[in-house]
Amino acid sequence: MPAPGPPIGMLAELTHRCPLQCPYCSNPVELMKANREIDTDGWISVFDQAADLGVLQVHLSGGEPTLRRDLDDIISCLSARAVYTNLITAGVNLSEKRIAALVNAGLDHVQLSIQGATADVTELIGKYKNGFASKLETARLVREAGLPLTLNAPIHRHNIHQMRQFVDLALELDADRLEIANVQYYGWAYLNRSTLMPDLADVKEQVEIVETARAELKGILNIDFVTPDYYADYPKPCMGGWAQDAFVIIPDGTVLPCHAAQTISSLEFDNVTDRPLADIWENSSALEAYRGFEWMAEPCRSCPRKELDHGGCRCQAFAVTGDAAQTDPACILSPHHGELRQIAEAAVAQEPGEFNYRRIS
């Protein structure tokens, strides 16, 4: 197999600690405690190696990345290497002073998560008292500090009726972008799938509202739309292809091709505290596993869409079929495609149960 090209993007999950308890958290179900996190020098070394390797954009995420007291040092290091920094935050613990320090360190952009377009839904999902008011205040401070703002709204049956309100809120908060991201079902979201799944009629209405808003707000607000897999005809080009131009590092320094890859139990991952990042990027068995097209079986192998979607999401293939090398069942050409729709329909036929909230045990 030819050596991969240089990576462009990197998602750094600096910590799994978080004040919120969202039941669809993209962190693994087995969360790491603080004592497993690599230290400041460890992260700085990783970011230096990443910049050497060709990374141009780093997404600083978590858990809640601002719980790391060394965040300013990390941003300064990236900024000195001309790497674009994006802070992905829940925005419930940021003072004006802290935001000023992040700006001084060279932060380029803030993505603020928003669990609902109203206080009640935001608190139901995040389980954080007065979370909504804190988030609005953070948005205001971010804009006042001159930083561009993206609002990220993960969507499920408890907030799918708030589409237009999310759009209005993004405009009111002077956001540059709004991400309407239907929840993807692995990890915590998989555990809570039957409670989170929206129904088809609501999904159709959602698509219409988003498309209308997009047309109406052309040049005014960028709206990114992550469509719901369980009602899709074709899969998404997950990560732009496995280990093609981006990777993820989790709090202890383990390198993944995507944030959910640890759900695929057959893979073994490498850690930056054991091997140089460049060596991992080129040779890690987990990154090599589904890189390119060699691993594909039919119907993907001979499919003209394979260059577009890379066979979709390996984690979803594993979650639904038990084999990560299968076609993503979101694809109509997958023999398992019908199961996704059945799972969704069975889920929405029930009254939603209690959430299994994200907690470090």
């Binding site: 993007g9 954009q57 952009h109 993505q111 561009p148 993206t150």
Partner: protein, 97 residues
């Protein structure tokens, strides 16, 4: 509320401070870094973007491009305005009129 910007010959475009046009030494290519996006503009696009300095109007940018490329300005005008409109719609350019 904000309104969509329509590019006219009088518009003065520039890259906002959070949109960065920089040369990538490793790949030997110009790159634009934007919120959650990385773009690889072609040579002509780079030439246009470099002229979006917040000083020259669209009209002047077209004039300078026509000179650089030894082209008829009437031929390139539509393309340049279309390009600037597209980038403005993607919120990658800001415009003062």
């Amino acid at each position: 509320m904000r309104e969509r910007t329509l590019i006219t010959p009088q518009s003065v475009p520039s890259l906002p401070s959070h949109i960065r046009l920089q040369f990538d030494d490793l790949r030997q290519k110009w790159v634009v870094l934007a919120p959650e996006r990385v773009l690889w503009p072609d040579d002509v696009s780079v030439d246009i973007l470099k002229k979006c300095d917040g000083a020259g109007s669209t009209d002047e940018i077209i004039e300078r491009l026509a000179k650089d490329y030894n082209a008829d300005r009437n031929v390139i005008e539509t393309d340049v305005i279309e390009f600037l409109q597209d980038w403005s719609d993607k919120r990658l350019l800001e415009v003062h009129s």
